[in-house]
């Protein structure tokens, strides 16, 4: 089980940057499609809020790889 936790940690580590890429790309696409202050604010808030959370996901993955959650 501890081995699975460590291997899954790689997924969580990579999921962080993948989420950042996805949300920034979606934000750019939506703002380009519907340019307007409402769209900029909505997507701006999404990006600002989700980037630290995605970084947190990568840190979580790093801890998992290091065996911090092993029982």
């Amino acid at each position: 089980m501890n081995q699975i936790k460590k291997i899954a940690g790689i997924i969580w580590l990579l999921l962080g940057p993948a989420c950042i890429y996805f949300i920034v790309r979606a934000a750019a696409h939506e703002i380009a499609a519907k340019p307007g202050i409402d769209t900029v604010i909505q997507w701006g808030v999404f990006v600002v809020i989700f980037i630290p959370i995605a970084v947190g996901m990568s840190i979580f993955g790093y801890y998992a790889i290091k065996g911090e959650y092993n029982h």
């Binding site: 089980m1 699975i4 409402d38 809020i49 959650y69």
Partner: protein
């Protein structure tokens, strides 16, 4: 016996205050359209911008920030005075919103004041929940934390229930004529639910003032062992940070989306996608909440016996695998294409009202269709007839409103009730789970942040992201469910792998 009475006093004082805070927070959301008309006219871009900020900033940025500010305060000066402060802040802001003159009366000052008060509401909510949950848990006897904290867990849903009930009651009690009553409510009656808050808050402050500080925190304080820097100890030390991250990704993230999908998105889906009448779309949720609420206590209590982990994760898993059929069921129940129309009962009327000094008319066409199962569908089309024949309305406004017959109505209640059961499974045990994860001296700070990111950010964004997905994939009315399903699925996987199924007894 005296000890038993004391814990119930603690639960009553904490739960009542938390319920009022949720009530205060929800009435703004539930009355968003009416408030927008009063303070944020769409014709003015700056006012519309402030409206967007009020919606987004209060729910998603300020709540986690409030968790940090008040969590730190709660770990430094104590739980009792901190969550008393959040209650005063929330009650004062809510009451003040009810007093703010409209945009028409004072111009830009109105939306700016309302935005500021809304931000204060978000800040207060961010500080309240962690304090109440910690306060109750630190009074609860060993082995019964799940049961006692589950009373706090009922408050978020009951706050929604009370806010919907007060709004519906006020909306229909301002005049004998229903149409006049609704018009009065939209003009000034919407202020009543806000002003009513001060009575509730007054009672709650009185009760809370009589309470003592948490025994565990008092003990730490007398020993001089309280944290000097709760923020640094919570998020700067690996041993605690790793538990904060685990709480977020393995529990609160999934809990947040299940909570919001089962209540807010379900109601929005019934009203906006199924096109069910305003009152029915709300009473369906009210009944489902009423039947489902006792289950918070059932699952909270059960978690004392079998542990918190599997109750929460099974709730999330069931949500992931059944959301599609459940929402599809709502769609099918409201779909008139499969119903038989009573052609003879169909009615239609057209009404035109002249626009002064223009020669133009506003035309309203209303048609009503009745179906053999008792469903009645009213379609209202509004457009403008211009005096100049070269001008035509580009896009008439079409509003469809379905009133369901009893049998179908109760089937919808049953479907929403099933979703509320999932809510009670994921939410009932989570306060005890979070409290037990962190040591007393930094508990308020440590548990508040993952809770408000999970519930406020992941959960709070559910209606927006789900609606956004439906606008991106217009062919699929259920596309919005991808967001809560994916987030909850990730949480189930992380929780299954990394959470301990035994109750954490490491901390007091």
């Amino acid at each position: 016996m005296k000890k038993q009475n004391k814990i119930w006093q603690v639960i009553t004082a904490s739960s009542l205050g938390t319920l009022i805070e949720w009530y205060d927070f929800y009435i703004f959301g539930s009355l968003a359209t009416v408030i927008a008309g009063q303070f944020f006219p769409k014709t003015n871009p700056t006012a519309a911008l402030l409206s967007t900020l009020a919606t987004f900033a209060a729910g998603f940025i300020v709540r986690p920030f409030g968790a940090l500010v008040f969590g730190r305060l709660g770990d430094l000066v104590g739980r009792k005075y901190t969550f008393l402060l959040t209650l005063v802040l929330m009650g004062g802001s809510t009451f003040a919103i009810g007093l703010v003159p409209s945009y028409e009366s004072i111009g830009f000052a109105a939306p700016i004041i309302v935005l500021t008060l809304r931000l204060l509401q978000g800040l207060a909510l961010g500080g309240e929940y962690g304090g109440a949950a910690t306060y109750v848990a630190e009074h609860a006897p060993a082995g019964r934390r799940g049961y006692y904290t589950s009373w706090i867990q009922t408050t978020a849903t009951l706050g929604l229930f009370v806010s919907l009930s007060v709004i519906l009651f006020t909306r229909h009690s301002l005049d004998i004529d229903p149409a006049v009553s609704i018009a009065k409510f939209n003009a000034w009656g919407w202020r009543i639910p806000f002003l009513f808050s001060i009575v509730l808050v007054g009672v709650s402050i009185y009760i809370r003032l009589k309470m003592q500080e948490s025994p565990l925190f008092s003990k730490l304080k007398s020993e001089g062992a309280i944290s000097v820097n709760p923020l640094k100890e919570s998020f700067g030390h690996k041993e605690n940070l790793k538990m904060v991250l685990l709480a977020l990704f393995g529990a609160t993230m999934g809990q947040g989306v299940v909570w919001y999908t089962g209540q807010f998105y379900a109601q929005s889906f019934i009203e906006n996608v199924c096109k069910i009448d305003f009152d029915q779309s709300r009473t369906i949720l009210i009944w489902a909440i009423l039947f489902g609420t006792p289950l918070f206590v059932v699952f909270g209590s059960w978690s004392d016996k079998i542990g918190r982990k599997w109750i929460m994760l099974v709730g999330m898993f069931l949500a992931v695998i059944t959301y599609n059929p459940l929402f599809k069921g709502l769609l099918e129940l409201s779909d008139t294409a499969t119903k038989t129309e009573l052609v003879a009962a169909a009615t239609s009327k057209i009404n035109s009202v002249s626009i002064p000094n223009s020669g133009d008319f506003v035309r309203t066409a209303m048609s009503t269709k009745s179906y053999t199962d008792g469903t009645v569908v009213t379609t209202t089309t509004t457009d403008t007839l211009y005096a100049d024949p070269a001008q035509t309305t580009i896009k008439p406004v079409v509003k469809i409103s379905k009133v369901l017959a009893n049998g179908i109505y109760w089937k919808m209640v049953l479907i929403v009730f099933i979703m509320i059961v999932y809510v009670t499974m994921v939410y009932g045990p989570i306060a005890a789970f979070l409290v037990e994860l962190f040591p007393t001296k930094i508990r308020y700070t440590s548990m508040s942040l993952p809770y408000h990111i999970g519930n406020g950010v992941f959960g709070g964004l559910t209606p927006f992201i789900a609606t956004l997905l439906t606008t991106m994939y217009t062919a699929d009315a259920l596309a919005g469910l991808q967001y809560p399903s994916i987030v909850a699925a990730v949480s189930v996987i992380i929780g299954t792998l990394y959470l301990d199924s035994k109750i954490n007894t490491k901390h007091d």
